[in-house]
Symmetry: C2
Subunit: 345 residues, 2 copies
DNA sequence: AGCAGCACTCTAACATAACGAGTGCCAAAA
DNA sequence: TTTTGGCACTCGTTATGTTAGAGTGCTGCT
């Protein structure tokens, strides 16, 4: 008897849809009426008991209707949900709202804002992973005062990273330029992680084989790439949208959630996990194992640069969200962002 | 009769202190007991009526005690409050928590976190005003591909700004270096605002008087400084701390406040106003005329670079805050930040 | 298996009452 | 004139009861 047959699935689907729509426990009568199956409420009740034993639904108290559990949502999303792809028209609308021009950071922010605006939930866009960044060019620039040198690294065509290092002695502009050329020739096209390893081994080995300027160059590169922070982060938008949902109206819960947004590492870890999947993914409620996300679902999709998955974007909202709408939106936004990142200015 | 004599002031002081301590309307009996003046509750009641007519206090409903109004807080802060300066020991504690090393942005974040941690409210640090920034050095760097040039401007010894511009034709590295030297010689030591104006007039006038590279340099500088965003912004920390205060437990109000934090411009405008004052300043409740800040007070103090006021930091919390503690904390933190910013690394 | 019917449970909404803190005001005391 | 004790009154809080309605679980009939 305890199987989820066609009929039970259909009822579960209707139940989840109704709950997502109205936000209130769904009773057997309403369900029987709307199911399309010609069943009486009593029969529906019997099926509900089965579904409850299977852990798909629960009732908040004796004389209330049923609401889906995490497991119920999971089945719904994986098997029952029919996502309707966006209309071309809607895609164009999204496209227009994405700020293509300008720096990468602006682009990410724009994508995040787009997600949050259109879903009325929180949008999140992970900054592309650094260890997949490719060095294009590196330059050393003398600063007017003492032994400080400004190092500029151009990465991925778009990004510029700079930092100031202090050197052992003062270098002439010519020396610095030579060092820059040397390193650029040596490392251009490689990813920063590989460079770091090469530089470190290079430094310990064969100290005296190369001439002094090159040696200095290596040493300086060591300073640049060694403790380089793994600055993976994300851009968040519309977190205040979450304050409008009644299921998050508990201030303590809400604070926990916002603190998680600020601390970043938990959310980041979650996003990082989504980086391997090729398409949209959904985390429902407590599945993510973070207390702060207990009442929330996260819908993510990865985006690409040069054909490689380098980041993830998504939407965070209450478990009770319109998955059929949100999933395609996230999916399309990821594709749009990929397109924007790959087109050279 | 309607004057605020010594005695009335003392009572108001006690009332505000009690309300800040307990967060509940203060009744005449308690006030009479704690005032130190040997008065009956009836007398206190009469005085309260006077204070109410003067707009210093109000009662939330008929049979409740009195709470201070904005005007009452104002008098309290301006005339009645005795701020006790921090102990040397406490100052050292603060100093140790400030992250002196690292980039300026880290320093500002550290100061903001410090403020929010120690006051358990929201800390805010304005990024130094750009128009007071002084150019040290400017360099042009060729990028490997087409006609794009990377411009690096070193500002205020610490900061590095960079942007990529697209040029009309391709320049050789030598040309670019020459252009950089020319502009550095011309503008080093001037503030960015002045530079912008000079460049713009220079561009329109005397197009043909100078040689072509210099002319190009001017044109490029025009690109760099023209639409340069007035990127005044701030670093916020601990906004979730505000969720613990019962007076902000109304979700709609809280959302308004958080939205204001995100939009930034209102808060920024407020902070900007504080830039002229030399020492700590307090905005109480609706004084700032922003609906979102209705229930909040803002305590600010300016900080300096090279003896000039360039930014403001502060604390945002509920109107009912321990001003005697917060004001000196903000004051000292501003001084510590000034010191950290001025000491050359 | 499916269904009607019924007793039961629980919540939400509303009414009612008791309590207590605190006020406003007045007349008496200082 | 100022201060004070006293007293009636107001209002929010809390506890308690009542009712209506929605929904369930179960039983026995088809």
């Amino acid at each position: 008897m305890l199987e989820i047959n066609e009929r039970a699935q259909r009822l579960l689907k209707k139940l989840v849809e109704a709950y997502i729509r109205d936000g209130q426990p769904v009773g057997s009568r309403a369900l029987a009426r709307d199911s399309g199956l010609n069943l009486s409420s009593a029969t529906v009740r019997n099926i509900m008991i089965d579904l409850e034993e299977l852990g798909m639904v629960m009732s908040p108290h004796t004389s209330a209707g049923r609401i889906p559990t995490t497991k119920g949502y999971r089945l719904f999303v994986d098997a029952l949900l029919k996502i309707r792809p966006l209309q071309d028209q809607e895609v164009i609308l999204l496209k227009n709202q994405l700020n293509i021009n300008g720096k990468m950071e602006d682009l990410l922010e724009s994508a995040s804002a787009l997600l949050s605006d259109i879903t009325r939930m929180a949008g999140v866009v992970m900054v592309p992973r650094r260890d997949i960044s490719v060095l294009r060019q590196i330059e050393f620039l003398p600063l007017s005062d003492d032994n400080r040198v400004l190092v500029i690294a151009v990465v991925n065509e778009r990004e510029v990273q700079n930092r100031i290092i202090t050197t052992a002695r003062r270098y002439s502009p010519a020396e610095l330029q030579q060092a820059g050329n040397y390193l650029t020739a040596m490392f251009a096209g490689k990813d920063l992680c590989a460079i770091r390893n090469t530089v470190l081994s290079e430094m310990s080995a064969a100290k005296d084989e190369i001439n002094s300027v090159m040696q200095s160059a290596i040493t300086m590169a060591g300073q640049v790439f060694s403790d380089a922070p793994t600055e993976t982060s994300y851009v968040l938008a519309g977190q205040t949208n979450l304050m409008d949902f009644t299921e998050l109206s508990d201030l303590a819960k809400l604070r926990q959630l916002f603190d998680a947004f600020n601390k970043k590492n938990d959310i980041l870890y979650l996003l990082d996990q989504c980086l391997c999947a090729e398409s949209a993914q959904v985390f429902i409620g407590a599945e993510s194992d973070y207390e702060a996300l207990e009442e929330c679902s996260v819908v993510t999709a990865p985006y690409m640069i040069d054909g490689k998955l380098v980041g993830v974007l998504g939407v965070i909202g209450p478990t009770r969200m319109a998955y059929d709408r949100v999933i395609p939106i996230v999916d399309v936004t990821a594709k749009l962002l990929s397109a924007a990142l790959n087109q050279r200015p």
